[in-house]
Each structure stands twice: as C-alpha cells, then as structure tokens.
C-alpha cells in the first residue's frame, strides 16, 4: 500500500488530562494510519483512551485540563492538523472531518430546531444561503431515512426517538460531505434492533461519498460489520493492529484473545458461563512501567512487568505488542473458547 493512500496518519499521539490528583495519561503514544475510503475500528473497554483519541483528531481537546503532548502528529492529507491556525481548524472541523457522538440526545442542542442545527454546518462550510440550506437540510434528513422530513426539520430534538436522533446526528455529520468521519460509539446507546439500521446508513453514506471512517467501539460485533482494519487499544496504547480477518482469526495479543472470548455466541451448545476478563485496567494516573495488561494477563512473564513490549510485525500490516512473540518466550496459542463444543 503506498503512502499516498493514507488520508490520516497518527504518529506518537500523547494526550494527558490534568486533574486534582495529577496528570492522567489518557493516550500514551498511539500510531495508526487510515486508508482513503476505508474504515478503521478502534476497539477497547471504557477508559482505554479511544474516545480521547477521537476527540483529539477532531481538535476537541481543550486546555487547561486537556493537553496534547509535544511530538504528537496527526497528519491529515500529509499535513499536521495540530499546527493548524484558527481558520484552518474551522475549515477542517465539520468541512473535512466530522464526528458522531454516542449520546445523540445530549449532543443535540435542546433549544434549537434540528433543521437549524444541520443548516449551521451548510452555511459555514458550503456558504449556502438560508433558503438553500433549509432545502438541503430537508434532503439530508430524507437521506438518513427520516420520514416526513419537511415537518421534522422544524422540530426540536426531544420530539425525536433515540434512533431518529442518531440519524439527525448522521445528517449533521454528512451535511458537508466530509472526507473523514469519526464515529464515537454511535450505536452504544441504542436498541439492538436500531443498531443495525444506523450502521447500514453510515455504511451507505460512506460508500456514496467515499468517506474514510474511524469507528470507535467496544462492541466487536459492530466492527466485523463495518471495518476493514482493527486497532485494539488498552490503557492508552494500541496493543494489536491488523486486517479484520487477522484480528478475528489469527489474533496475537492475549488481550485480543480475551476480548474475542468475551463476545457472547449463540452457536455454542453448552450452557457455559460467559468468559470475562478479570480485574480492572491500570490507573492511568501512574501507568505501569511494563505492559499495561500484565496485571490481568494469564501469560504474564517477569519481563512484562519491567519493560514495554516491542512491536512484532506479522506481515500485511498485522502487528502486536507482546513479549510472547519474543524468540526467548515460550510458545503459547490462543486458548480454545470456553464452552467451545465446535
């Protein structure tokens, strides 16, 4: 894959939050690339830094509490957005890059008609007149599958159902045909039946506009459906990265193993208890010196607690950061699934 195909490259991204208790290192050196027109999923449990990563790419980390460390780079079309000036940021946000949040009710202004919230975008980035924007807003609502859009544009967010609100969010995000879309857990707050619909809409629009997508989620089911590549994040770092099939069928990191095992499956015959990962992630106030997963890892070795593991490349963009792949380490295979009567 040639370098030119990367619409976004994140290099050594480090973000910290300054709290009363001290500096919380939420993101500690994250690297990934996103190919144009493709979708990358960032998977991990709550508090692993995935949402912070998303907000940083969107330029939503605010001082004085939040700080993007020096040396971090976010290259959008080859240019570091962290060096943008005010004007460039404004053109980039909403115009080039858009974001969909998890909680649509909280993310929509309760005292502004939804039509106006879509129009705002159009008027700023496409320089439309009020009338044109209004027409376009109706079109956008129609596009995301909201019935009677002419009537709905004049309503307030609280008059919409959960799924409809998320559709509005999608309409806002896609209003200016962004090249890059970040979805921060877009389906987490929704009913399972609605989740599929929302993902389908995002996928359709992505194809239509050739948008590149970063899908942030903790739900591996969502990932398989949407993404070509997956990055597994744990406690502020990416522990494994690769093509969708590689991660699902040939995972290399014990954390990925545990994640995959904890997905509930209907095809298992035995009534077995659902696998879970014991314990809690380390506190990012004082991140451990070694592998962050070492405190919960069945295969933890002495070295794991002392040193950050090196990144091992398995080819075709599949990498994992784990000492198990060091030549000196014992050979360990992914254990069979619990209740596995395959």
């Amino acid at each position: 894959m040639s370098e030119k195909n990367h619409i976004l490259e994140v290099k050594n991204l480090q973000v910290s939050y300054h709290t009363y208790a001290g500096e919380v290192k939420a993101v500690r050196g994250v690297n990934f690339e996103l190919n144009t027109g493709e979708a990358l999923a960032i998977v991990g449990e709550s508090g692993c830094g995935k949402s912070v990563t998303a907000k940083t790419i969107m330029g939503l980390i605010k001082g004085p509490a939040g700080e993007v460390k020096k040396g971090s780079e976010i290259l959008y079309k080859g240019e570091n957005v962290l060096n943008y000036d005010k004007k460039q940021w404004q053109a980039y946000k909403g115009g080039e890059c858009a974001i969909i949040f998890q909680d649509a009710l909280a993310s929509l202004n309760p005292t502004m008609r939804v039509g106006k919230q879509i129009m705002e975008n159009l008027m700023v980035h496409k320089h439309m007149s009020k009338k044109e924007a209004q027409k376009e807003a109706v079109e956008m609502l129609r596009l995301v599958g909201i019935p009677e859009p002419e009537k709905r544009v004049k309503q307030y967010p609280h008059q919409f159902s959960g799924g409809m609100r998320q559709r509005v969010m999608i309409a806002i995000a896609f209003a200016c045909d962004p090249k890059l879309l970040i979805c921060d857990e877009p389906t987490t707050a929704l009913d399972v039946t609605i989740q599929g619909q929302i993902l389908d809409i995002i996928k359709d629009l992505q194809k239509r506009n050739n948008t590149s997508v970063i899908m942030i989620t903790h739900d591996l089911g969502v990932v398989a459906n949407v993404a070509q590549e997956i990055a597994v994040m744990y406690s502020g770092v990416i522990v494994e990265r690769g093509k969708c099939e590689d991660i699902f069928y040939r995972p290399r990191h014990p954390y990925t193993w545990a994640l995959i095992q904890s997905v509930p499956r209907l095809d298992l015959k035995n009534k077995q208890e659902l696998a879970s990962i014991p314990g809690t992630p380390p506190d990012l106030l004082n991140p451990p010196a070694g592998c962050p997963f070492s405190t919960r890892c069945k295969y933890c070795m002495g070295i794991c607690k002392e040193q950050m593991p090196e990144i091992t490349d398995f080819g075709d963009g599949h990498t994992a950061a784990c000492w198990l792949h060091h030549p000196m380490a014992p050979k360990v295979e992914m254990p069979e699934r619990k209740g596995g009567a395959e």
């Binding site: 014991p278 314990g279 004082n286 933890c300 070795m301 060091h326 000196m328």
Partner: protein, 303 residues
C-alpha cells in the same frame, strides 16, 4: 538484559488484577480535601474563627463595660484608650461592637437552626406521607411564598413586639420553606434511585439505609442552606433594626449600632463605619466560605 528466566510465565494474581491505585476516600474526606485546597475558603474559615473568638472575649479586652456611660468622653474618635472611640453617650464602641456582633451572629445561628430543623421535618413529612398530605403541605408553602418575605417579617414583628423572640420567629417564619422543598425533592429522588432500591431488596435495615444514603445527601443540602442563610439573616436583622422594626435600644446588635451611627453620621462618621465594617467582614467571610463549601460538596467536581 533479557535473560530467559524473565520469560517464565507467572500469570497474574487476583489481588494485582483488582488493584486500584488511587486510594479510596469517602465523600466527606474528599470534600474536606478540596476545601483545604481552596485558599479563599480557608482564609474565610480562619477569619470566622477569629470573629467567633472576638465576640466571646472582645468585650472584655479593654475592660470597659458596654453600657457604662462616660458623658465626659462622649463622641470620641479612635484613641489608645478607646480603640474604636465612644458613642454619643460616652460608651466604649469597641466593646459595644463585639457585644452587638455576638447578638447578630447568635440571632443568625438560632434562626438558621430553626429554619433547618423545621424545614427538614416538614420536607421529610411531605416526602414520607405523599399523597394529599403532601399536596396540602405544599399549598401552605405556596401561600407563604406568595407574599414578599419582608412583609411577613415586618408583620410578625409588629404583632409580637420588638424583642429577641419575635425577631427569631419573624426571621425564620418563611425561611424554612426553601429547605423543606429541597429536602422533599432529595428524599423523593433518592427513594426512586436504584441503589437505594437495591439496598432495600438486599435486605438492608431501614436505619442503615437512612444513615448510609439519606444522611450524607441531606447533610450537604443542609450545609449549603446554612451557609447562604446565615449571612442573609445577619442582613435582615441589621435592616430591620435600622428601620426601627427589629431590636431597639437598649438592646444592641450590629443593626442597632448602625442605626445609632447614622444619626451622628455627619459629625462622627466613625461611629457608623466601625459597625458597618464588622458587619461586612462577617457576611463576606460567611459568603466566601459558603462558595468554597458549594464547590467542595459538588459531586460533579470530584476528580
């Protein structure tokens, strides 16, 4: 560096996996910690402590009685003999101000206590009984609230006369309404929350639930209520006494001193300035401490 023995699988221990680095601290410890970090609030606390000590020992420092008149030395300015000067009857202002401040603070404290006690009981009754009892009790609050507060206070003073008891009744007669509403809202809300429900389902004793869940929530409401009520009462007392509706001479409070000071304002302004300054310092210290408490007790700010 990398030796083979470092590559032996040791696994994890349960303890390690569940280890939480941050020490767990209770709500109150956390609030106190945050209050301590707020310099303004701490200074106010120190000032308040100083004021409390002064209203206790202040009148005795100079050895002058606050009622003994010395007509030969009336209307004096500040001097080494009379730190704050003397009033139109030659009484030592320094002693008088601390006695007056003592009365003002006491009135405010007692009125606040009345407000909190009545409000809590009333609010708890509303939340506990619910239904038509709640409706009627709420109506009573609404009627009381549809009169400007000061009118009721003045009316009560008029009926009961200018004395300490009347003043306390007059100050607290409408003040408890807001406390009652908050307490009622808090209890009703807590009743619905899942963790209280869970505690009930798990068979926790009612007393345990009250101590564990209701009291902490209640206390923070009450503390905040008190911190806004105390300066308010000090204000109102001073105002009423100034208008001649509150306490009147020979009883003394900061309000009485201010109204006496105003009479000689043109010739001896210091007689007005000293009680005013003391009043402002007291109120400001209470306000700033209240602000600090509000920040410290707000669970949303917990980090």
């Amino acid at each position: 560096m990398l030796t083979p023995d470092k590559f032996k699988i040791v696994g994890y221990t349960q303890e390690e996996a569940n280890k939480i680095d941050r020490p767990t601290i209770s709500y109150w410890q956390d609030a106190w910690r945050r209050l301590k970090k707020n310099p303004v609030a701490m200074v106010s606390l120190v000032v308040l402590c100083f004021l409390v000590i002064m209203v206790i020992i202040g009148p005795h420092i100079r050895g002058y009685d606050y009622i003994t008149m010395n007509v030969a030395e009336k209307n004096q300015g500040s001097s080494a003999k009379y730190w704050f000067g003397t009033d139109y009857l030659g009484r030592d202002l320094f002693s008088r101000i601390w006695v007056g401040a003592r009365a003002s603070i006491l009135i405010a404290l007692v009125a606040t206590a009345l407000k909190l006690i009545v409000g809590t009981l009333y609010g708890a009754a509303m939340a506990h009984f619910g239904g038509w009892v709640d409706d009627i009790l709420m109506r009573i609050i609404e009627v009381l609230n549809s009169l400007p507060n000061l009118l009721i206070t003045i009316l009560i003073m008029m009926v009961l006369g200018n004395n300490m008891f009347a003043l306390l009744v007059a100050l607290s007669i409408t003040a408890w309404c807001s406390t009652a509403r908050q307490v009622r809202g808090m209890i009703k809300q807590l009743k619905e929350t899942e963790y209280v429900y869970a505690a009930e389902v798990l068979g926790a004793k009612p007393l345990h639930i009250i101590i564990k869940h209701y009291v902490p929530n209640m206390l923070s409401i009450l503390i905040l209520n008190a911190s806004t009520a105390i300066p308010q009462f000090i204000f109102t007392e001073a105002g009423l006494s100034f208008l001649g509706i509150g306490l009147t001479a020979p009883e003394i409070s900061l309000g009485v001193l201010i109204s006496q000071g105003q009479k000689t304002l043109d010739f001896y302004p210091s007689q007005l300035v000293y009680p005013c300054v003391v009043l402002c310092v007291i109120v400001m210290a209470f306000n700033l401490l209240g602000d600090g408490l509000r920040d410290a007790l707000d669970p949303r700010l917990r980090q």
